[in-house]
């Protein structure tokens, strides 16, 4: 949930005067799309993205010879000429939630992470966010996902968790999502077990409804015909 545990800490950075040929090589070699630019004191001064790099490159429609000549010239330029100056940053104290909302609003692919003195501590990209989502869902470990439709009233989640706990099953995660049905909620417990028959039977006995993706989809379509489009 915290940026400092999810960010990439092994930093690959460039200096303002790094040649674009080196910038390009670093991106390919490490399979990354963002390079923070730091000055001699280690302070963050900018960021070069693969998109900045691409717009600096000559058109791929040029003939081979013209392209290569132009490319050679481009590659002698420096990082500071194409970098985004004063990029949006996040703090080491931020949460993944902050980052998610900010990334969605600002439409950027990665944030440099800085401490209160402006020193670069890490970088967090959409890929890191995806990994943290997989981590939160617990799907790195073997398990079974239950799809439960519960009435929207107090204590329903407790009942589910109690049944799972009484069966001595560990929970990888529990996601709750709204359904189209106003007075129902979908609960998705991820159980870290193969042994789900008894737990399912007990949920059914407790008047919960188990549903599958087809039911979910058809239910939604019948209430929201635009989904078919």
């Amino acid at each position: 949930m915290f940026v400092c545990e999810r960010m990439a800490k092994k930093l690959i950075t460039v200096q303002p005067d790094t040649k674009l040929s080196d910038v390009s090589q670093l991106m390919t070699q490490h399979n990354i799309r963002h390079l923070p630019v730091v000055n001699g004191e280690g302070l963050l001064v900018g960021i070069v993205s693969d998109r900045d790099m691409r717009s600096a490159l000559p058109s791929s429609l040029l003939g081979k010879e013209a392209y290569e000549r132009a490319l050679e010239r481009v590659m002698t330029h420096r990082a500071e000429e194409i970098m985004t100056i004063n990029p949006l940053t996040i703090s080491v104290y931020y949460t993944i939630q902050d980052t998610l909302l900010m990334m969605r609003q600002k439409r950027v692919g990665a944030f440099p992470v800085i401490d209160e003195n402006g020193y670069l501590k890490g970088i967090l990209s959409t890929r890191d966010l995806l990994s943290s989502l997989a981590n939160v869902m617990g799907i790195g470990e073997p398990g079974t996902l239950l799809c439960i439709l519960a009435r929207e009233e107090r204590g329903q989640l407790k009942k589910i968790v109690d049944i799972v706990t009484e069966e001595k099953i560990l929970l990888g995660s529990v996601l709750v999502s709204r359904t189209w049905d106003v007075n129902k909620k979908a609960v998705f417990p991820y159980l870290l077990t193969n042994n789900v028959a008894r737990v399912k039977q007990r949920l059914l006995d407790a008047d919960f409804q188990l549903f599958d993706p087809m039911q979910w989809y058809l239910d939604n379509v019948s209430k929201n015909p635009h989904l078919l489009l």
Binding site: P142, T144, T193, N194, D212
Partner: protein
């Protein structure tokens, strides 16, 4: 027609019941009891050729499993631990020895098929195997019976193309991982979609690694789907893949837990749906593998349904409807 009757071997040993799991565990000795009782009551059992069960030579198991894992399992059993690696993997003092017998039963069935003494075989063994990884127990499985069988076919019998079909409702992660880099063993699995079902692997984009690329194939089935989807995927994925691969022998990880009545899964395969799967597999085996099929029990947890499905499966293997 009598001429179509196949010699079908049957692997079973009462000692398989000595692998005792905790009292409410779904993978229980009762599973084998209902299978054998059902076969006896229907008269089918008497038509099968009993295959003796031996303790597998450790070197065959070592071809798949890490020796340190084997020692851990042995020690956990001797110490009287309740489980190994996860509480799902319930053990007793005899589990280690019984797991050796299960492997040995499968290897004996393979020998009998390869010498031509029998045409095909069903192995009613416990514990099951397809989740077992090289170095850990998973999903009620300790030694990967089918994977060891495939290695044995290669090493002992020089078979060059082995086809494994896994129709247990759960993906056989162990078997896939053991062979995903091996182009001589084709692993096909059809199972409930990994977003919903244990163990969470077996998506359609898992198709093998390196030299083994193209020799792993997965058909995930969404919960709520049944016969139609199974038939579609079997015809669209399995049949062309095996036509191309032309296996010399087919090993089955036969799980009967995809049935609509089995609460261990969310898929809705019917009894007839299971017959369809068996029929397609036997046709493939007759066409490419000289009919050589060794079917090994994996899951299936609804007792009466399990007994019925196994009986139907074996009856079709004998060629008598």
């Amino acid at each position: 027609m009598a001429g179509d009757m196949k010699k079908t071997g049957f692997v079973y040993d009462e000692r398989f019941l000595q692998h005792v799991t905790f009292s409410t565990h779904p993978e229980s000795p009762g599973r084998l009891r209902v299978i054998v009782e059902g076969l006896a009551a229907s008269g089918l059992l008497q038509k099968l050729i009993p295959i003796e069960v031996r303790r597998a030579d450790q070197r065959w198991i070592e071809m798949v499993h890490n020796i340190r894992y084997m020692m851990r399992l042995e020690e956990a059993c001797i110490m009287g631990m309740p489980d190994i690696d996860h509480q799902d993997n319930s053990i007793c003092r005899d589990t280690y020895d019984i797991a050796f017998l299960a492997v040995g039963g499968v290897l004996n069935a393979i020998d009998a098929v390869m010498t031509g003494d029998i045409d095909n075989a069903f192995c009613a063994v416990r514990p099951p195997g397809h989740h077992a990884e090289v170095d850990r127990a998973m999903g009620f499985c300790y030694f990967n019976n089918v994977a060891i069988g495939a290695k044995y076919l290669k090493k002992r019998w020089g078979v060059q193309r082995i086809g494994i079909i896994d129709f247990d409702v759960h993906h056989g992660n162990g078997t896939q991982h053991i062979f995903e880099q091996d182009p001589t063993v084709f692993y096909y699995s059809i199972h409930e979609h990994p977003s919903f079902a244990y163990p969470g692997t077996g998506r359609e984009f898992e198709t093998g690694i390196g030299e083994g690329l193209g020799y792993t194939l997965n058909s995930p089935i969404l919960p709520g789907r049944g016969d139609d989807e199974y038939k579609k995927m079997i015809m669209q994925d399995l049949v062309p893949a095996f036509k191309k691969f032309q296996p010399e022998v087919i090993l089955l990880s036969a799980g009967f837990d995809a049935h609509v009545t089995d609460l261990m899964s969310g898929t809705n395969l019917s009894t007839e749906g299971y017959d369809f799967i068996t029929e397609v597999i036997l046709n493939l085996a007759n066409k490419f593998a000289g009919g050589r099929v060794i079917s090994v029990l994996e899951g299936g947890y609804n007792y009466p349904v399990l007994a019925l499905l196994v009986e139907n499966h074996i009856r079709m293997m004998t060629g008598v409807r």
